[in-house]
């Protein structure tokens, strides 16, 4: 069905097979993470999509941003039982131009899917990382999460800032604080493969 293509370059295959355990709030350990490594994140994270970013910029960040982790996610919450039904990642690129102030205030990791822009990568240099979580894996996420609280609930379920306690969320370092970026690497080698196939 598929043909082995020898991968897309060796740099991002690195990392401990078992993965690195991370606990929030994050500190300088974030700076030693490298693109391609597997991490398991335990502790508190905060969801934020487009509207939440705009609201936080205007009205303040409703949590201590130092070492905090922001998850690009609009969860499905069972409001009667106060539980998380589904919490897969949303496309992070929508937050490219909105997330700068969070990094400036000390947020040092974003979780999402699809990666972020070169501007964000530069902003993260020496300060933080982007962690990829598998698109569509909403049930797995929910099974490792507990709901703790909510800020800006008037934004609606998908856009509010939910405070979530997670237990070993399985993630991949996709953009690191030294400028490493899996997405850029893959896009570059895919373009090369395309040109080689269809000269």
């Amino acid at each position: 069905m598929t043909e082995k293509n020898g991968g897309t370059g060796g740099a991002c295959g690195a990392g401990d097979a078992a993965g690195i355990e991370l606990k929030t709030p994050l500190g300088s350990e974030v700076l030693s993470l490298r693109a391609g490594q597997r991490v398991f994140l335990t502790g508190t994270i905060y969801t934020a999509r487009d509207e939440a970013h705009l609201e936080m910029k205007k009205c303040g960040i409703p949590f201590n941003p130092k070492g905090a982790v922001v998850y690009h996610c609009g969860p499905v919450i069972d409001t009667e039982k106060n539980t998380i039904v589904a919490a897969g990642p949303t496309t992070s690129a929508r937050m490219n131009s909105l997330c700068g102030f969070l990094i400036d205030e000390g947020v040092c990791a974003f979780i999402g899917k699809g990666g972020m822009s070169r501007d964000v990568l530069e902003k993260l240099r020496g300060r933080g990382v982007y962690l990829a979580y598998t698109g569509g894996c909403a049930a797995l996420a929910a099974s490792r999460m507990k709901l703790k609280g909510v800020s800006y609930p008037h934004l609606g379920m998908a856009e509010a800032v939910w405070e979530i306690e997670c237990d070993r969320l399985p993630l991949t370092v996709a953009m690191d604080s030294a400028g490493g970026n899996i997405y850029e690497e893959v896009a570059g080698s895919a373009s090369k493969s395309f040109s080689a196939m269809f000269p």
Partner: protein, 279 residues
């Protein structure tokens, strides 16, 4: 009688949606497992780990596989001689409304211009219901996610471009990158008219995946050589399968449609209970 048809179709539609949202079809699941076994990259293997753990969690907890529970498309087959009644499409709508509340599903259907959400996944022209004649009275539900739909493309090629089809499909996936949540299934419609090529492409996604012909396999291999990999993080497996559906077209035209399906390749068929419907 029409009341009975409406009720039974609603039950079948509800059950088809439930099955589709919670569990992937057997042939696709086997192909996905095979892709995992062929994948050589660590980063990609971990994406598969998450994918398979997610599938078992969805089943165990009876929750949808993905939070994007899709736009709802139905294919209904009706036996020869059965009354073509509005009760069929009414029943489908009832089933969608019930599924939205009970499974539950995310309300995704909005007015295209005001962007106002209908709240129940039903609206003007939604769900889409395609009815054709078949051996049995069946309802097939196909909830389609927005991300992969957005990266799907339609091209009106020149008749002289038949040799470029593989290149154009590969380029479509290159430009999509990780955005449609690979590994993918590609439904390809070739021929027909401007409107029918995308319809063929969507129907192609319902074909069994275990018997790709040489042309389909060639396209699949070409896409996999891009190395985009699961979720665009790099890997040998970008495309699980390619299925093509053709129709005769105008001698001046070559319509080509590529319908991209994300790894959550959902569809399920349920037979309508017809007891008491036939004299």
């Amino acid at each position: 009688m029409t009341e009975l048809i409406r009720r039974r179709v609603a039950d079948a539609a509800f059950e088809a949606i439930r099955l589709a949202e919670l569990e992937l079809p057997g042939d696709y699941l086997a192909a996905l497992k095979n892709a995992r076994s062929l994948e050589s990259r660590d980063v990609a293997q971990r994406e598969y780990e998450n994918i398979f753990e997610n599938l078992s969690d969805a089943k165990r907890l009876s929750v949808s596989i993905c939070q994007d529970t899709g736009m709802h498309i139905f294919y209904v087959t009706v036996p020869e001689g059965f009354p073509m009644t509005r009760a069929i499409s009414d029943g489908i709508r009832d089933g969608v409304i019930r599924a939205t509340k009970e499974i539950p599903l995310r309300p995704n259907a909005v007015d295209p211009l005001t962007r106002k959400n209908s709240g129940d996944n039903v609206g003007v022209g939604a769900p889409a219901v395609h009815i054709s004649i078949g051996d049995k009275f069946t309802v097939t539900a196909m909830p389609k996610g927005g991300g992969s739909e957005n990266m799907s493309r339609m091209y009106m090629l020149l008749p002289s471009q038949t040799g470029d089809i593989k290149k154009i499909v590969t380029q479509t996936v290159l430009e999509a990158g990780g955005r449609p949540c690979p590994p993918l299934v590609l439904g390809i419609g070739i021929g027909g008219t401007f409107d029918s090529a995308p319809a063929l492409a969507k129907e192609a996604l319902l074909l069994p995946l275990d018997n790709m012909d040489e042309f389909e396999r060639e396209i699949c291999d070409s896409v996999n050589r891009l190395g985009i990999g699961p979720m665009g993080l790099g890997g040998d497996t970008t495309c699980i399968a390619v299925k093509v559906k053709k129709a005769h077209c105008h001698t001046a035209s070559l319509p080509l449609a590529v319908n991209i399906q994300c790894w959550v390749n959902r569809h399920a068929t349920v037979e309508v209970d017809t007891e008491g419907m036939f004299p």
